[in-house]
């Protein structure tokens, strides 16, 4: 094909030229000797030329005494007179400045070197082979300042991105997502029984690059939605050249990535039950009076609560095998890309099928993208995008829903001794054997459970660009983003947990949502160069309207076994529909000036008006100024070792709108009194409600030295004021909270990244990259001075972090009697006369009536009931540092890469241990963590776990700092080995390229936790599905 194009071009050229001769040659990179493909070879004075092939070879017909111009992006253009030569081989030298990649930023693109904002870019290469449903999962550890956490390991569940800390109490801490220049619907729109992310619609292979805008200079053009940063997604466009088809297929396998909650074995568990009942009997002699002796009592209680297997009656199975399987995923993708000078097209079609690790979990997705653009005339360019996806997910309830959550059942409920079926007739055991849980054999309950979600999404976009002159153009975009989510949840007729709803014969709720968003923008772009002065400016407006429709139908009393649609429910259980509309109107503009590629100044401005605010307060202005100094381009700075160096700084504002659409308005809710209609005020008016305001500064230094080391250091300080908070107001108003702008919060930190090109040879490439970020978050003020807002296990208080833990402080086991000890926890101010003996953290004892030398808590050990919650300094879920590092190695056609991510200095709230490490609180036959075996006993007075007692009301069931664990981890997120089949072999079989690869994710994890360390940013963990390890094999061919 390529030869055909060359041939065609040659024929074309020959028709207009006289005295033609053919010149051939190879274009190579002077740095590493590698051939340069798609380099342009052009006859000086002509408008067309040819391109080099994959081996850097070209062939062109030229007239006598011609001069050829060789150019390629990122290299210095060369002109070479042909003379009589028939072969012209060219070495092109990389151009340090031109090497500047173009990055996608707010409302446009920019050369990285001239950019003074803070943005992280993740390219296609970093994500192309990762076995993920959604692109966000690949970002972990890749971009400084960006933290990524999955809600759950269930396929398709939402991935949360957190950029530079937390800026908001109530209005959300998720960034704005912008797809190809258009703000997009994101988040989880389901009812919460199954997590489904709206961003799943994008097949990761369709993504060309992701830019994460972090500071005000980068993000404030998005105004009232930019406070939490902006994620710009750019999908692939057609590339100039012949039409290339690419087919990619991969298949993968997955299972838990971590040894989650290692459990005591059967013998150990029985022994722990025995200890609990023995100690209980010793403490309460009256309980075993009727049993004759303590031994009899213990024997009976253990037999009752941890009954021995009865193989004659029951069949036992390994519950892990019953509930879980090796997950299998398959992905097939086909795409085409190509175009000429005028028109380009990219189109793709992909199918993903993931069978989850839980036997009832799976996900299927079809997705397609078509991007087309055409230069209709010299001045007019038009383009459009169609993106459509269909996704179906079926799964389990995660987290709290303990009756259905397979991970909970496996880890907590189902012991080895829990029978699976009756031997006599092979029927499942459906009695809830543990009085604490109404859990029964899930095989039966899953049959009668409906928990699924559909997503349809269609993005349509048209854009037109008209150039008045070569320095002024206007661009208009009109787009529609339609998301439909349907999800159902039900326990149908025949569900074994039915008796919990004894007066109804099954129920199901079926929810439908449409989110319909239209965005229109028109911008005027100006760009002109006068000598060394370069001025560009943009001005425009944008309007956005979101319509939301919701319908929910609940039915009960299913009389048909196996019914899965609400129509089979005999009775109505509730149903309603409503809609909601939102508008956002904006004017925006920016101006960029640079002088001699040394000094850069940028200003941006946006004015937003939002329907979420009262007419008096709905308009707001957001702006930024930034500048940079590219000192490496100064004449006086003539250091050979410095390839590029830049200092930059920015300051600006952005905002966050209330998540409540009508939070400012006094409204009445309508409900029921008996069977009568009833209304009542449900929101107190607050016409002064406004957005959160974010003031943001950032300074950075970027440099490339010795052609090899690229590093970037930056410091940011982000202060949010007028935080939106459902603030507690005096109850005498008749309301407990109202949405108000209160308080302030700050986030500041360092971000460092370093890339080293260790080797850059013809056959060898080796590079190493590392990044490290810190964030220090602090609540600066709440609505009232000294206010404490407790949201167990966290507290919001001036001077502490957004996720500051507040709980009883566990002080370990009392070696005397094995009881757990907790700090008494009373707080005294400096100078207070203490009303009891107080022990300070450092051990100083202040007798009763003494004076406190400084503010502090009483650390005197006491029992659980007498211990109060206290702020545990430094214990927050916000890490001290996080980041990642990666190694990329290529040897000839073989390439290898790995990406690690790490996080340290934070604590997680492992609430799951209330079940597994409760020191005997629940003496029923449930599983126990293996770490519980080191109990305090008379023969083990150094035991790390308190004395085990049935109904232990002092121990691990109760909230205390025992739930807090150091969350530090290091994880091999992705590793890929890829092999490009030899070119001559590939060409022989008629292909352009062929590649096979094997990719793994979460292959290695180092952490001291009992549970998978990748936990949501709040630090809270309670039995959501942990992360998975997966290995994928793939094949990619292009032709």
């Amino acid at each position: 094909m390529k030869k055909f194009i060359s041939f065609a071009l040659a024929v074309f050229c020959s028709t207009i030229m006289l005295a033609q001769t053919t010149v051939t040659g190879t274009v190579t990179n002077s740095d590493d000797g590698k051939p340069i493909s798609f380099a342009n070879v052009q006859l000086k004075g002509a408008t067309t030329g040819v391109y080099t092939d994959d081996n850097g070879k070209y062939s062109i017909d030229v007239p006598a005494n011609a001069t050829l111009i060789f150019s390629s992006m990122g290299f210095i253009t060369q002109e070479i007179p042909v003379g009589n030569k028939k072969v012209v081989n060219v070495l092109l030298h990389p151009d340090a400045i031109a090497l500047d990649e173009t990055i996608v930023v707010a409302y446009g693109t920019v050369k990285k070197g001239s950019y003074s904002g803070s943005a992280a870019v993740v390219k296609e290469d970093a994500m192309k082979d990762a076995p993920v449903v959604s692109f966000e999962q690949v970002l972990a550890g890749k971009a400084p300042g960006v933290q990524v956490a999955s809600y759950s390991g269930q396929p398709g569940s939402e991935v949360l991105i957190n950029i530079r800390g937390f800026g908001s109490f109530n209005a959300g801490n998720q960034p704005l997502y912008v797809v190809d220049g258009v703000p997009a619907t994101s988040g989880d729109w389901s009812s919460g029984n199954i997590s489904t992310s709206a961003m799943n619609f994008l097949n990761p292979s369709d993504v060309e690059s992701i830019t994460i805008l972090k500071d005000a200079a980068a993000a404030s053009l998005y105004g009232s939605r930019a406070s939490n940063g902006v994620v710009l997604i750019t999908t692939k466009r057609g590339k100039t050249g012949k039409l290339i088809s690419t087919f990619k297929a991969s298949a993968g396998f997955s299972y838990f990535a971590y040894d989650n909650y290692p459990l005591a074995n059967d013998a150990e568990a029985e022994e722990l039950h025995r200890q609990a009942w023995t100690n209980y009997g010793n403490d309460n002699p009256s309980v075993w009076r009727d049993y004759g002796s303590l031994e009899n009592y213990v024997k009976e209680k253990v037999a009752e609560n941890y009954p021995a297997k009865d193989e004659s009656k029951y069949i036992y199975k390994d519950w892990e095998d019953v509930l879980f399987r090796t997950g299998v995923s398959q992905t097939y993708e086909y795409s085409i890309s190509g175009g000429n000078d005028k028109s380009k097209i990219y189109a793709s079609l992909a199918y993903t099928d993931q069978q989850g690790v839980v036997k009832i979990d799976y996900l299927r997705r079809f997705s397609t993208t078509i991007n087309a653009e055409s230069q209709l005339s010299k001045r007019f360019k038009i383009g459009g995008t169609v993106q459509y996806s269909w996704q179906y997910q079926d799964g389990h309830q995660d987290g709290w829903a303990s009756k259905d959550n397979p991970f909970f059942m496996w880890k907590v409920v189902f012991t080895e001794r829990w029978p699976y079926a009756y031997k006599a007739d092979n029927s499942l055991v459906l009695e809830p054997l543990n009085p604490n849980f109404s859990t029964v054999n899930p095989i039966a309950s899953y049959e009668a459970q409906v928990n699924d979600a559909w997503q349809n999404r269609l993005l349509l976009k048209g854009q037109a660009e008209f150039s008045f002159t070569d320095w002024l153009k206007v661009k208009s975009i009109l787009s529609s983003d339609w998301l439909y989510v349907r999800d159902r949840f039900g326990w149908l007729y025949g569900h074994p947990n039915f008796y919990a709803y004894s007066d109804i014969g099954g129920y199901m709720v079926d929810n439908h949502r449409n989110v319909d968003r239209m965005v229109s923008s028109t911008t005027l772009n100006f760009n002109k160069v006068w000598g060394k002065h370069n001025l560009s400016a943009m001005a425009g407006w944008e309007a956005e309207r979101e319509r939301y429709y919701y319908t929910s139908v609940g039915k009960i009393d299913f009389s048909y076994l196996g019914a899965t649609e609400s129509i089979f429910g005999a009775n109505f259980d509730g149903g309603y529909s409503y809609s909601r509309e939102e508008g956002l109107l904006s004017a925006l503009g920016s101006i960029n000036y640079d002088y001699a590629a040394k000094y850069y100044v940028t200003g941006t401005y946006r004015r937003d008006g939002s329907s979420r605010l009262a007419p008096e307060t709905r308009w707001g202005n957001f702006w930024s100024v930034s500048g940079s100094w590219r000192f490496s381009n100064e004449n006086f700075f003539d250091a050979k070792w410095l390839n590029d160096g830049k200092l930059r700084g920015s300051y600006g504002t952005s905002g966050t709108l209330p998540s409540n659409y009508f939070g400012y308005m006094a409204v009445y809710d309508y409900g029921k009194y008996g069977m009568l209609g009833a209304s009542y005020p449900s929101n107190i008016a607050n016409s002064g409600l406004t957005w959160e305001k974010n003031k943001n500064w950032n300074i950075g230094l970027d440099a490339t030295i010795f052609d090899r080391y690229t590093f970037s250091v930056e410091y940011f300080n982000k202060k949010t004021t007028d935080l939106l908070l459902d603030a507690t107001i005096p109850s005498t108003t008749g309301f407990s909270t109202t949405l108000m702008n209160v308080g302030a919060m700050s986030n500041r930190g360092w971000e460092l990244s370093l890339n080293i090109d260790i080797l850059k040879k013809k056959n060898w490439d080796l590079s190493f990259g590392v990044n490290w970020s810190t964030v220090k978050n602090e609540v600066l003020a709440l609505s009232q001075e000294n206010e404490e807002t407790i949201n167990t296990p966290w507290i919001w208080k001036e001077g502490y972090a957004f996720y500051q833990y507040y709980t009883r402080n566990y002080l370990g086991v009392n070696p005397e009697n094995g009881n757990p000890m907790y700090a008494e926890g009373s707080f005294y101010k400096k100078g207070d006369i203490v009303d009891q003996e107080v022990i300070l953290k450092n051990g100083t004892v202040i007798p009763e009536g003494g004076t406190m030398p400084k503010d502090g808590y009483n650390y005197a050990p006491t029992s659980r009931e007498n211990a109060s919650s206290m702020i545990l300094d430094g214990k927050t879920s916000i890490p001290k540092g996080y980041g990642g590092f990666n190694v990329d190695l290529r040897w000839k056609d073989l390439s290898f890469s790995m990406a690690w991510s790490y996080k340290y200095g934070h604590y997680i709230w492992d609430e799951g241990t209330e079940q597994l490490a409760n020191d005997g609180y629940t003496s029923y036959g449930q599983n126990i963590l293996v770490s519980q075996t080191d109990t305090w006993r008379d023969d083990n007075k150094g035991g790390s776990i308190p004395r085990r007692v049935t109904s232990n009301n002092q121990g691990g069931y109760y909230y205390s700092s025992r739930f807090l664990k150091k969350g530090d981890f290091l994880r091999l997120k992705n590793m890929t080995l890829s092999y490009n089949l030899p070119q001559n072999f590939v060409n022989k079989i008629g292909l352009l390229n062929a590649r096979v690869y094997v990719a793994g994710s979460n292959l290695l994890t180092f952490s001291g936790l009992d549970i998978d360390p990748e936990i949501q940013s709040s630090g809270y963990y309670y039995y959501s599905m942990p992360a998975l390890r997966s290995v994928t094999l793939g094949l990619e061919i292009s032709f």
Binding site: I382, P435, S438, A464, F466, V474, S476, L478, Y499, A500, S502, D503, M518, S520, S521, A543, R545, G554, F572, D573, Y578, S579, R580, E582, G583, L584, L585, G609, S611, P615, R618, Y661, F662, M665, V667, Y668, Y670, G671, K672, Y673, G674, M675, L676, G677, A678, S679, Y680, P681, I729, P730, S731, T732, T733, G734, F735, S736, T738, E787, E788, S868
Partner: protein, 490 residues
Amino acid sequence: MKTIYTILVISGISLGMVSCGGFLDKYPTDSVAASKALVTLYDAGVAANGLYTDLKYYTLYGRYFVEMGDMRADNLYPRTLNGTSSTIYTLDYESEANTYFSLWNAYYTTIMKANTLIQNIETLEVTSDSDIATKNDYLGQAYAVRALCYFDIARLYGYPYLYDNGASLGAVPILTPVAPSESRVPRETVAQTYSRILDDLTNALGLLSKEKNLGHFNYWAAKLLQARVFLYKGDYPNAYSAAKEVIADSPYRYVPNTEYLAYWGKEGDDESVLELLVSTEGDIDYDGGFIALYHNLWFDDSNAGAGIIPTKKWRNLFANTPNDVRAQMIAYDDPETGMKKTGEYWLKKFIGNQDRGYTFRRNNPRVLRITEAYLIAAEAGMETNAPDAASFLNIIRKRADPTAQDIPVTLDAIQTERQKEFIGEGHRFFDVMRRGGTITRDMSIDEHDYAGTSAYKSSFSWDYYKVVLPIAKSERSIYPELQQNPGYKD
């Protein structure tokens, strides 16, 4: 030129999207802007229904208020040592845990609803006599509901009136809708609160209809509430005359012995002067359902049986009167053959609204019954030496036990009768307290495990600081003007 047209068309389309008026003026569709919610008399009627939605909810008469009245005394107690119920039973509340403060919040929410209705109904213009009467009735309901709320706040958070003649701290007076900035008002004394309650009731009585109005205050409900307030205040002559008026002139009649047990499964019976309505469908878990008191009293729930059971002391009240119909409300769960085999006794009073097809979870909370008018008349009559005082007591005694003999009226006899009659209706604690009595709960009688818990107190009377609930610490941190009750630490 063509391209310029194309640009114009595209810009035109996108501008068109915006130019339709009110692009930024949106209104909710799942709720109604306050400016549009109360414009007709019909709207006012719907808002009047809204006065009762929190009262019937589990935070108040659906559960917590009743538990405050029964479980802090010697009628009911929790079967196991955990949860909110056991904290109420052991009086283990403290200002840090704001659970017990949820009653305060719920009452002020209802007061806000009443204040909003009182303020906004003024602007409704009605002309016909029947419309004026309807409007007055709605306004009267708002006053009466507000009186009930202030009375309950005074009972829960203030000391009994007679303890110190109302000198202790009572409610915060809020008489109009207030913005947060106007809401930080200090508490008044109990005496001041009582005077506001009586003012509201006087207003209400002048406005309310005398017709029966299921689930709503009418003249008679307000009158009976007034009798109760006078009784608590020690104003016996007024209590006596108000109670007698209800007995003599209202359409309410006490339920006869033969229908007594079935009465609890009925809606709108003549016995009920004010009962609150729970829904018959949907949302059963909340609307008088799963977490309502009645569910916890019920034995056959999905878990291991009732969480709340009657004390042995209460059961023993019937030891010598086997013919008392109320003795039949005690059911025994036999350890061998019973439903849950627990060997416990439980209270089978609230059987669910049978004639509306309710299940056990759905009971209309009874706030005022005609029986109470008789017992108020007996007590107030006794204090004022009215000759018919004993007859009011004996009517109720004999209604329950036709074989009973007349007895002379004494405070003990009245209190015993009230204890038997009102179990599960939230009276007992307040009845003992308002007369300065002592609540005794003896572990050896009740066979429960609570004596060992630190908070448990087997005997206390109105001078114990925990007979009033604490003000929540979290509330005081944003509202320091709100005074804490004596004895509680913040």
